[in-house]
Symmetry: C2
Subunit: 139 residues, 2 copies
DNA sequence: CTCCAACCTGGAGTGCGCTCCAGGTCAAGC
DNA sequence: GCTTGACCTGGAGCGCACTCCAGGTTGGAG
């Protein structure tokens, strides 16, 4: 239910110890508990934040924006609208990202298909992707 | 059919002039033609390479790997297998990337749905995502 | 009580992929 | 011939997100 050692928090969140310390230093993760001796103790709540940060990072949100979000959350319930908007705008960017990624993935597959046809029946030159990639320097 | 000025090549490829020069400097783009005065002239072949680089960059391939690919291509037809493998391995990484991205996108959407339910009928606390994100510091 | 692995701090360093700059050259239009 | 905007080079600088380090402290096992 409660306290996790730094190494445990790192293991569970997938962030390195250094990254956890870094996130605290820049104010992304605030108010992390300590033992009397000064060692960090992460709560389930902290872990929840880390899961969120993992999600936002994996989807390409810059750290500055995550800080903004965290700050808003700390300010209280009256910032909920702004937080929602921030996430929605981010989601829109993620959608574009996914679209671009899948389009480019298709190009990549096409290129690979070209290579797979290479040792095949007819070694037809001039494939649709428009560059031969051989030693032809063409100038 | 043939020569493009640097600015035109930049416009068509979506890379900046500086990036084009940089790509040439590190040997990613080799043998770019020049006028007698020393100004670059990009061919359709060069443009084809740039389109490929665009695809690989957009899908997250590190520049070092693109260099490796370009080098292989310059070495001749006998490296076709290695090039295909390189692209296939990259494609596999892209697939993982797309999977992760769409999973995290779903988490994000869930979070947003939580915010959209906030001003709704019943302001039920304790949503499934397991962190309240309010001022509750919980320690 | 002793040990040692895990932890602490502040600050410097790293890797990537550009991006910017100064100071000079080129070439197309008038 | 002159102007002017696009271009050239080598090299420095930047922004991001960590990552590493030295030198010291903590705390649970034996």
């Amino acid at each position: 239910m409660s306290g996790y050692a730094p190494s445990e928090a790192a293991r569970r969140s997938g962030f390195s110890l250094d990254t956890l310390r870094y996130y605290e230093k820049i104010g992304l993760l605030a108010d992390v508990g300590r033992t009397t001796g000064g060692q960090r103790v992460f709560t389930d709540d902290d872990l929840g934040w880390l899961v969120l940060f993992r999600c936002l990072r994996d989807t390409g949100m810059p750290i500055a924006q995550m800080c903004r979000y965290a700050e808003l959350a700390r300010e209280g319930e009256h910032t909920a609208d702004e937080r929602r908007e921030l996430l929605q705008q981010h989601a829109a960017r993620v959608e574009e990202q996914m679209l671009l990624l899948s389009r480019q993935y298709e190009h990549l597959r096409e290129k690979i298909r070209f290579y797979e046809r290479l040792p095949g029946p007819v070694p037809e030159t001039d494939q649709p992707t428009a560059n031969r990639l051989g030693p032809a320097v063409s100038r």
